[in-house]
Symmetry: C2
Subunit: 231 residues, 2 copies
DNA sequence: CGGCTGATTGAGCTATGTCAAGGGCAGTGG
DNA sequence: CCACTGCCCTTGACATAGCTCAATCAGCCG
């Protein structure tokens, strides 16, 4: 990956962000208002309970959005991919960050300061409608995940996670987001050991293969069955 | 409760809804576009997977928003109170309802048709900003609840629920929303029997009293301690 | 080679779910 | 007014998924 600071005017992810609704002048404004940072795997982009400073737009790499639950266990709320916006919701609620954002791979992330974001929100209706739409979609996903964690057994949740993480975002992602076993556990609301045991079981049943810690999906249908056998 | 159809112009909950940002003419438009229905406890306002038809504004009573998880268990995502809007998010995402809304007490609910809602959203910036704010706040709450369900033990979640349901909305709610034990379980992501056992335990420890199935909180501090002892 | 980090496996425990049997209260109908 | 019925609530006994703790293993890097 080249460490070139992205330019909004030519940025390849712009088309999949709400910025697609910006006209030439607005893109220019964003380009000059924003700054860009490069994060190594594991670095924090922002932390739960600190004050929001602006909108983060992921140019490359992936972030995990996490909260820490009982016993300091890390709950991964979602994985954000290139083109996703993070950290702006707290600007709208005018509260501190509700979660932390951490790079799960090396990532380039641009920061549009609060005022510029809010200006756009107030003046560009298409943009704000797009933001609204995304917030709503995300809220639905979170509700679905909540219900799964509440009542679906871990086996099904792990199967879901594997399917989601592998095929989800074929457009911009390199296919496999490399999460550690512990992260996979945090993503599915369980603990490392349980996640590992279930993976081993999937391997025994030829649903997946594991090469050098990396998980490869062999039987999508089988995993889907795993996911649904508890409905 | 009188079964009088509410009039937006004089409706007592208007001030706590996003309609507060509507001018006199807009309120009038809403008043003439809307219809009102009265629901008995247990009746559906709308159902998961059906097509959204408009914005529901709760005039009186409470609704539960539920999804059905593995084994048909009912997960209560949240309780909506007078002044809350429900069912509009699916208009924005242009999908089917992600959850069902059911009256937990007798309720009066007004329906503003899709087009009128969208017109307001497009033309009244303050209104749409208020909607955005609420969606974002709700999303945060859902994320918090997700993390709790994932890693906080049932005891803590029940304590949280009791605190939330009792004091939450002192403004407009009569203090106690009467949920059945099964509903309390659905709200906290557990099953009826577990909820009951934990309640009995709380009673033994004088954290709560139970009179005729109704739960009365005796020791707020004690419950808060229950909630936090697992961090 | 030694030390490190993450993955894996085992053994045991516990919280929580399941199944089954009362118990109490409210409403209904005689 | 009382018996009947049905709906919750409650409790007990039991099963088990998933958590904890601890030991070992497999790459990887200096």
């Amino acid at each position: 990956m080249k460490n070139e600071t992205p330019d909004c005017r030519t940025c390849s992810v712009r088309d999949v962000t709400p910025f697609e609704h910006c006209n030439r002048d607005q893109v220019l404004e964003v380009q000059f208002a924003k700054s860009c940072n490069f994060y190594k795997k594991g670095q924090f982009i922002f932390s739960e309970n600190s004050l929001p400073i602006g909108l983060f737009c992921i140019s490359s790499g992936h972030l995990k959005l996490v909260k820490y639950g009982s016993g300091g266990k890390e709950q991964i709320l979602r994985i954000a991919k290139p083109g996703d916006f993070v950290g702006f919701r707290s600007l709208i609620t005018r509260r501190r960050y509700n979660a932390s954002a951490i790079a799960v791979s090396d990532a380039a992330v641009c920061l549009l300061p609060r005022k510029d974001f809010q200006h756009l929100l107030n003046t560009n209706h298409e943009f704000s409608a797009e933001i609204m739409q995304r917030v709503c979609e995300l809220a639905e996903k979170t509700e679905n995940k909540l219900t799964d964690i509440a009542y679906k057994p871990a086996r099904g949740r792990i199967a879901d996670a594997l399917l989601l993480l592998s095929n989800a975002d074929t457009e911009l992602c390199q296919k496999d987001i490399q999460l550690s076993r512990e992260e996979l556990a945090g993503f599915t609301g369980t603990v490392k050991e349980t996640a590992i045991r279930i993976l081993s079981e999937f391997k025994r049943n030829n649903l997946i293969a594991i090469k050098k810690r990396k998980i490869e999906i062999l039987d999508i249908g089988g995993l889907e069955q795993m996911s649904n056998q508890f409905d």
